[in-house]
């Protein structure tokens, strides 16, 4: 049972383009939605996170959009760069209580020059 569905599994974007990764969740108790970035040979690292009291959060070129009624959230990478090439995981959890974070299957992003 996949509680967080992520798409696409792979994505190729040209340098300067917009990368969009989508996630949907089922558990309405989830109220914390982080995105993790993983480079080859490294462990994932937190990129940006959102709580559902806002519909959008922006940090530099990275933006999370959140639609509570649709139970969907997405990551937008503006002006994508080759250095953004990595695997991206969306995740969801309750924002309190013993921390059990559910991850999506990951999206392998390749930004080509």
């Amino acid at each position: 049972q996949q509680q967080v569905k992520q798409s696409p599994q792979s994505l190729i974007v040209q340098k300067g383009g917009i990368s969009i990764i989508n996630c949907a969740y089922e558990n309405t108790a989830f109220d914390y939605f982080p995105w993790y970035q993983q480079f080859p040979g490294k462990g994932p690292a937190l990129l940006i996170a959102i709580r559902p009291d806002v519909s959008e959060k922006k940090e530099g070129r990275f933006t999370i959009s959140f639609n509570k009624s649709a139970k969907q959230f997405s990551l937008h990478i503006m002006d994508s760069q080759p250095g953004d090439s990595a695997t991206y995981f969306c995740a969801a959890s309750r924002s309190w209580g013993y921390q059990k974070v559910t991850f999506g299957i990951g999206t392998k992003l390749q930004v080509i020059p």
């Binding site: 992520q6 599994q9 914390y32 982080p34 993790y36 040979g41 490294k42 462990g43 994932p44 690292a45 937190l46 996170a49 995981f89 959890s93 309750r94 924002s95 309190w96 209580g97 013993y98 921390q99 059990k100 974070v101 559910t102 991850f103 999506g104 299957i105 990951g106």
Partner: protein, 117 residues
């Protein structure tokens, strides 16, 4: 900087062996986690611990056990390794905000790629 260190980057073990994967964090985090990462399946939680000697099953605990005797160390044990346990194993830790138990950022190690032959 938080550092989560996994003892081995690569391991090759034989079917039926008992395997220990060790993880140490240096930031006094209360919570520690073991995940396995497989293509097309993402990160799946095996076990987690929110205190010394405490452990909770994750989504796929079968075939695994854990030990947390000290706050900084969390070990994953494969009692009898099988080929379907060939995977990338990731350890993570995170801070608890006392009684609030607010979810915080997880810091991951670099992973241990285990091959069972």
């Amino acid at each position: 900087d938080v550092k989560v260190t996994q003892s081995s980057r690569y391991l090759v073990k034989r079917t039926g062996e008992k395997v220990f994967l060790e993880c140490v964090q240096d930031m006094d985090h209360e919570n520690m986690f073991w995940y396995r990462q497989d293509p097309g399946l993402g990160l799946r939680l095996i076990y987690f611990s929110y205190d010394v000697k405490m452990k909770e099953k994750g989504d796929i605990p079968e075939g695994y056990s854990v030990s947390r005797e000290k706050k900084e160390r969390f070990s994953l044990i494969l009692e009898s390794a099988s080929t379907n346990q060939t995977s990338m194993y990731l350890c993570a830790s995170s801070l608890s905000h006392g009684l609030e138990l607010v979810v915080t950022e997880a810091f991951f190690g670099q992973g241990t790629r285990l091959t069972v032959v």
